[in-house]
Every structure is written in structure tokens, then in C-alpha cells.
Amino acid sequence: MTAMLQVTDVTKAFGGVVANDAVSISVPQGAIVGLIGPNGSGKTTLFNAITGAQAIDAGSIRFEGQEISRLLTGEIARAGIIRTYQQPRIYGGLSTRDNMLVSASIRRGSSPSLFRRANAKAIAWADELLDFVGLIEKRDILAGDLSFGQQKLLELAMALSNEPRMLLLDEPTAGINPILIDSVIERLKVANSKFGLTLLVIEHNMPVIMDLAQHIYCLAHGSLLADGTPEAIQNDANVLDAYLGAA
């Protein structure tokens, strides 16, 4: 079976710093794949490369068989890859519900549908997802007035409302109330099983990623250090070395 997302030998350097050095990962359709590594190991750089935020120096990125490494951010998004950010990015001047309405998929309709009001169906879809992340009570509040954790949840709901084929999550549980983390994981798993959403997740919280992902890639100093099942990664000597320093 060919992978949904196939990253092959992607290299990206910032001056003399090689942030990604011939990194190859593969994400099968319907999977939840984790991406871990110490700070500065190149995880977010790889996300930027996949979503077209930064052009890569060398290598290939194929999504559903199509080469996307030379496409623009918007084209990649419309092809079906949506990301969230470490620092949540929402539209602070819009209400929480309007954030949802403007994020809803445009793939379902052509661009003239922009010149229509959000219909009852669109509003119901927005509210369903706001309910899903527990923000339905906040729908009329300005998104900029939400707390950090609430903004992260809103950003997740916005991404889901776009109905992507693949969702790239950059530290989805960072900054979220520890009590809420379990429910976030639960919701991600439901999004995966219920909506058939393929997930690629950057995460620093080890228990979270071990629980969530079926396959994990570990980056260190811009290169791929190891990959395997959560159990294999947990016991990999190289990984332990990268995180804790040589024994």
C-alpha cells in the first residue's frame, strides 16, 4: 500500500544550520503518526515544509501521489492538508462561531459560495464541532478573548470544520489544562475513527504521544534518529540518548 503522505529525503537549511537533513517519513491513510524529538530537532520545520510555508532545498513531498513540495500554502491546504500551530492562530476579532464559519471547507463549493450567507446547515456544522471541543457556550465571544487553551481547542475545531484529508497538529496538548488533555486525546482519536482523518502529530508530552500514535518518528539535530511503534521507540537506546544525554 502506498502512503498518503510520502516525505523523501527532505533537506532544509537556514544559513549554516541544517534544520532538516534528508528526512524521510511516511504516513499511511487513516493512521495516527507521531513526530517527536528534542527542542530544535526540526519537527516544526518539517511541518512548514509539508504545508508549503517554507520552500525546501531538496527532496520530495508527495500527497496522495501528487508532488506538493513546489505548491503554494493555499494550494496545499485546498488539496486537503490543514495544520494547527504551537501558538494557536485564530481570528481574534471574530466571534468563536464566525471563526468556524469562515474556516468551513471551501472544497464542498466553488468560490462564489463565498458570496452567500452561512446557511442553517453550515451553522449547525459549526456548532456541532464547537460542541465536540466543548466551546459551544463560548460561540458568541470574541475568539481573541478566549484563554490560550480554549484557543487551541478552537483552532482544532476550525481545522476539523475544514474537513481536511490530513491534519498536522503541532503540540495539540501544550498549554492545555492537564485535566482537559485526556479529553483532547479522546477527541483526536474520535476524529480519526469517526471522520477517517489521518493525523500527523508533533508532541512533547510522552504519555500523550505513546497513547495516541500507532507509529512514531523521532528527529534529533535535523535527522531521523529512529522510527517504530511506541513500545519500540520507548526502548530505543538512541532515542533515550538524545533525550537524556549519553549515559
Binding site: 510555508a53 468560490s111 458570496f115 450567507r117
Partner: protein, 344 residues
């Protein structure tokens, strides 16, 4: 978005009474007819500026470009339909050979105003593809340059009167009160503009403009066609600015390239000030701002003559310092603060 959703009886009554005031105003206050016409055009200027500057967050300092293009465009159509534009301007529109009878004058206006809107919209489409790739200060400075350059270019084209300017066609005496006709045309334009924008802002397009204002890169990464949305908004705004410019030229009767048409230091600044004064990023704001501004301007020009620009400058400072959100924004902030208190 929610604010324009329903046409409640209360809102219909408000609209009806505003319309009645608009229709009756020049008849009740004939002495202020010119100022009222100017006010209606100012409302269009402020609304059009705010669509791009307030709703979309692209602060343009060069919107006079579209006003001026519309002004010249309409005048050229009005004259050119019946006479040679070059000869007309060489003769300064005078003499007995450049006379417009009633059908000619009306035809000129009827074709000139839509032509002005189209010319300005087309210019916005051409320039937008280039200029709207710039952001923040770069966009502001670039548009400022465009407005200044346009005035200097217009002042160098003899065909349209060069630095001596161009006169709009002399209205035939048989037509009666042309000023009143222009007032009602301005009223129609202002209403069309306000209704069009109210509709636009109630659609997902309006949300997309706000999304671009709040985080353009995010909007792009969410798959919105941000560039197309930006150019569309800019083109719509320019169309209204062009039509308003066409009327403005006919109201003042004389088009000076730098003082009237591409008047960055007056109209260009005023339209921004009006939007800020009323509250940028709201539909009511630019309208309220234009009304308050026009009253202030007339008071300053009447009672503080010689110091009127100083007074206007102080007004700008006062707005920036004390009412950064504008009148409508200030009221809304207080309203939401009250609502928050009640929630607790």
C-alpha cells in the same frame, strides 16, 4: 456578521426614517444643499476606504487615485460624447461652441458615472494584483505614492487640461436645479453603497476579509483564496470611489489635478479620518464618522477660518488618543463591557 442578519420592524423603521430624512434634507435646508451633497459623497468615500482599510486591515493612503480617475473619467465621457476633449480643454470649456443641451447633459451623466465606476474598478484590478501582495507599512506607503504620482501625471497631460485642470460640462439652464439632481444621485449612490456593503459583510466573503485582517497567513493556510478576496474587495471599493468621484467633479464643477481630483492632503486624509472617527471595521462607523466630520469641518471653516487646519489636526490627534476605536467602536465596547458585567 450577526449584526446585519435580520430586518426587524425596528430596523426597518430606522431605515425608513433615515430615507425620509435623506429625501427631505435639501428641501428643508436649501442653504446647506451643497454641504449635504458633499456629506453623502463623504459617506461613500469613508465606507469604501473602510472596506479595505477597516474590514480587511489594508490601510490605503492612496484611495484618492480612484476618486480622481472617476472624476476625470466621467468628465471625459460627458464631454467626449459630443465634442473633442482636447479642443474643449484648450478652450477651457468656454465659448459658444461647447454648449450642452438637456439630453446631452443627461446622457453624459448617465454614461459618465457608470464609466467612472468601471474605470476605477479596472485600475484597481490592474494595480491590485501587484500592490496587494505588499502588507502593512509597505502597502500604505505604496498606495500613498500611487495617489501622489497620479496627480502629477494628470497635471502633465494637456488633453485633459494639464495643470490648469478641466471643467465639467456647463449644465443647461433649461434643466433647472442641477444641484438638487446631483444631491439625489449622491443619495442613491450612498444608499447603494451602504446596502451593498451590508450584504457583502453578511456573507462569508465579509468573514474572509476579517480573517485576512486578523491573520492572513492563517487564512491562506486554511485554504481561503486570500489574494482573490483582497483584489475583489479593492475593486468593489474602487468602483464606488470612482462613481463618487464622478459626482464630486460635477458638484465642484472644476477639476484641478492635485487640489480636487487626486487630493491626497484633503479628501485622501479625510476619508481615513472619517472612518477612524466613526469606528473602523464597522458598517455604521464610517457613516457616523462622515456626518460628524462634515459638521466639524463646516464649523471649523466658518468660525475658525485661518486656523481650520490646525483645528482639524487637533481633532485627528484627539481621535487617535481618546477614541482609538471610534464613536461606534466606543459605544460597542461599553455595551459589551456592560454585558460582561451582567454575566458575572
Amino acid at each position: 456578521m450577526a449584526e446585519y442578519r435580520a430586518l426587524t420592524p425596528k430596523r426597518l423603521l430606522l431605515i425608513a426614517s433615515l430615507l425620509a430624512v435623506g429625501v427631505a434634507a435639501p428641501l428643508v435646508l436649501p442653504a446647506y444643499q451643497l454641504q449635504l451633497t458633499e456629506l453623502l459623497l463623504f459617506i461613500v468615500f469613508a465606507l469604501a476606504w473602510d472596506l479595505v482599510g477597516g474590514q480587511m486591515g489594508y490601510n490605503s493612503f492612496g484611495n484618492v487615485l480612484f476618486v480622481g480617475l472617476g472624476m476625470y473619467g466621467a468628465a471625459i465621457v460627458q464631454v467626449g460624447l459630443f465634442y473633442d476633449v482636447g479642443l474643449y480643454n484648450a478652450a477651457r470649456g468656454g465659448g459658444t461652441q461647447f454648449v450642452f443641451d438637456v439630453p446631452q447633459f443627461i446622457t453624459g451623466l448617465a454614461l459618465g458615472i457608470p464609466a467612472a465606476a468601471l474605470i476605477s474598478a479596472f485600475a484597481a484590478w490592474l494595480l491590485g494584483s501587484l500592490v496587494l501582495t505588499m502588507r502593512g507599512h509597505y502597502f500604505a506607503i505604496c498606495t500613498l505614492g500611487l495617489g501622489i504620482a497620479a496627480g502629477q501625471i494628470a497635471a502633465g497631460i494637456p488633453w485633459i487640461g494639464a495643470g490648469s485642470g478641466m471643467l465639467t460640462p456647463n449644465p443647461p439652464e433649461a434643466l433647472g436645479d442641477v444641484a438638487l439632481l446631483l444631491y439625489y444621485l449622491a443619495l442613491g449612490l450612498a444608499i447603494t453603497c451602504a446596502l451593498t456593503f451590508a450584504w457583502l459583510l453578511s456573507t462569508r466573503f465579509g468573514l474572509a476579509l476579517n480573517a485576512i485582517r486578523d491573520d492572513e497567513d492563517k487564512a491562506e493556510a486554511m485554504g481561503l483564496k486570500t489574494h482573490a478576496a483582497k483584489v475583489t474587495a479593492w475593486v468593489i471599493a474602487a468602483g464606488f470611489l470612482g462613481a463618487a468621484g464622478a459626482l464630486y467633479g460635477n458638484v465642484v464643477r472644476f477639476i484641478d489635478p492635485v487640489q480636487t481630483a487626486f487630493a491626497g492632503a484633503t479628501i485622501g486624509v479625510w476619508m481615513i479620518l472619517m472612518a477612524l472617527l466613526g469606528g473602523k471595521g464597522t458598517l455604521a462607523g464610517p457613516i457616523v464618522g462622515a456626518i460628524v466630520f462634515q459638521i466639524m469641518k463646516e464649523l471649523f471653516w466658518t468660525y475658525l477660518l485661518g486656523w481650520q487646519r490646525v483645528a482639524l489636526g487637533l481633532l485627528i490627534i484627539a481621535v487617535a488618543v481618546f477614541f482609538p476605536a471610534g464613536i461606534v467602536g466606543f459605544i460597542r465596547e461599553r455595551g459589551s463591557a456592560k454585558a460582561k458585567e451582567q454575566n458575572q
